[in-house]
């Protein structure tokens, strides 16, 4: 399909990746959560019937990977029904979970429904820190979840969000993954959106911490070979060129939020001047190909300088629109991770601050945990 965007025809492929954020409810309170800070102010969750329609519509539009996410998707008791429908439609179904609520009974029901894959998130391998960071006592539960994944024959993919407070334990995290029989381990540094943006100073590792973690990871890669494949994602603040965010705006990725809003990425709702469509009153196909919000940052006609005339613009498409908005005030600016951006200094300042040891910081802001009380408090501040 070739919709016309800003007077230019742009070729758009299907929304291959559907992320169904079926609920914002979550028993955890992670300080790096990317759910919107004002999540308590969003509309009511879609019903089972409405989600079934989203799945059918998206599949007909060409979606093939389906991620069930949240919040904690296991909070909804219709998850099995949604997975069964997605499987029947021919989706490859992924469950992205913290493992809380993942009992032997539900694991079996999900297996019977045709669930293809479970990605289990860990905050850390050391129980104390894990419990501190997620504000709950959940570590033993996660170990149990990992065993259920294995006994049901799902490929074992562990994801651990890395940051200033746990990055020095990376060897323990990798060893835990080995002990649990993981085949893949994602060590992803937290990206600074939503709650992680509020907590950025407390979460960004120093350069020394990063280098050590990468060195340790490489040593384990050599030692473990094919037994465990490890992906390590550095925080983009340490780069000089931005990431090609979501592989391009409205290119392959479609998020449906709990209330039915359709977004090109899970944090895009922060771009307030765009009116994002809702699956309750627009078909997935029209949302993807026709809506102003999805067409807005397609192609390159929207770009400003230095992106517009940059020889690398096709490579990264100017980076992340949300990051540009958060750090420069305009989502159409270059992502200031790029050292060609006139706002790059804001990134350098944050990185410089990450080198200051906690003991030498004049004011150490307490971490803000993601919970309904903080959400309501912060929503009233943004609205005021």
């Amino acid at each position: 399909m070739t919709p016309t965007v800003n007077g230019k025809e742009v070729t758009v492929g299907p929304p291959l990746w559907l992320l169904a954020e079926i609920t914002y409810a979550c028993p955890l309170h992670c300080v790096f959560c990317y759910n919107p800070v004002d999540y308590t102010q969003h509309g009511p969750e879609l019903t089972t019937q409405e989600w079934l329609k989203v799945l059918r519509d998206a599949r007909a539009a060409g979606s093939v990977q389906c991620g069930f996410s949240g919040g904690e998707p296991l909070v909804r008791d219709d998850l099995e029904e949604l997975v069964a429908e997605a499987h029947k439609l021919g989706f490859y179904t992924n469950l992205l979970t913290s493992g809380i609520g993942f009992t032997a009974e539900r694991a079996k029901a999900l297996k019977d429904a045709g669930l293809d894959h479970v990605q289990l998130s860990f905050q850390d391998s050391t129980r104390e820190l894990n419990d501190f960071l997620s504000h709950t006592k959940t570590f033993a539960l996660k170990q149990k979840a990992a065993q259920l994944i294995q006994s049901n024959g799902w490929p074992m993919v562990l994801n651990c969000v890395i940051h200033r407070l746990n990055i020095d334990y990376i060897d323990k995290i990798i060893e835990l993954a080995v002990d649990l029989g993981a085949e893949y381990l994602e060590l992803a540094n937290s990206q600074y959106y939503s709650w992680a943006q509020l907590n950025r100073d407390g979460l960004m590792p120093s350069r020394e911490q990063l280098q050590r973690a990468e060195r340790v990871t490489n040593e384990y890669r050599e030692k473990l070979g094919d037994k465990l494949r490890i992906f390590f994602v550095v925080p983009d603040y340490y780069e000089t060129r931005p990431k090609k965010c979501m592989n391009g705006w409205g290119n392959i990725f479609l998020t449906i939020t709990p209330d039915g809003s359709a977004l090109p990425c899970h944090t895009a709702k922060m771009i307030k001047h765009l009116e994002f469509p809702n699956v309750k009153n627009m078909s997935v196909k029209d949302i993807w190909y026709e809506s102003e919000a999805f067409n807005h940052y397609r192609g390159d006609a929207w770009m400003k300088e230095p992106c517009q005339t940059c020889p690398e613009k096709e490579k990264d498409l100017g980076g992340c629109r949300c990051q540009a908005l958060m750090l420069t005030g305009d989502a159409a600016n270059a992502d200031p991770v790029c050292d060609k951006s006139e706002h790059h200094q804001t990134v350098l300042d944050a990185v410089a601050y990450a080198q200051v040891p906690d003991a030498k910081r004049i004011e150490v802001k307490p971490l803000v945990f993601r919970d309904p009380i903080n959400s309501r408090k912060l929503s009233s501040i943004t609205e005021a």
């Binding site: 299907p14 093939v64 990977q65 991620g67 490859y92 293809d116 894959h117 990605q119 893949y184």
Partner: protein, 92 residues
């Protein structure tokens, strides 16, 4: 036995982690795996969909040549299977 002979006598199958399926919207065979997808070109799809873990590569080549009424596919099939092994799509 040369390496090619060994391959011709092997009976490859799709690796367990992948699922092969036809995608109508893309008009292509794709390999699906946790959170990812490989879009196969026409000939790659025709080769992979015929792998069952029992058929030898020699038999596979004969089948392809018959179905497409052609000859001399051996070199291309062996080259593709080598790539497929390297990518981990196929196990011998």
């Amino acid at each position: 036995m040369t390496n090619d002979e060994a391959v011709l006598n092997s009976t490859p199958a799709l690796a367990a982690i992948f699922r092969l399926q036809w995608e109508e919207v893309q008009q292509a065979w794709v390999l699906l795996y946790p959170e990812g997808m490989v879009k196969l070109n026409g000939s790659a799809g025709e080769i992979i969909k015929r792998l069952d873990g029992k058929k030898t590569v020699t038999a596979l080549i004969a089948e392809l040549e018959k179905d497409f009424e052609t000859t001399g596919l051996e070199k291309d099939v062996l080259a593709f299977l080598e790539t497929a092994h390297q990518q981990g799509w196929v196990k011998a």
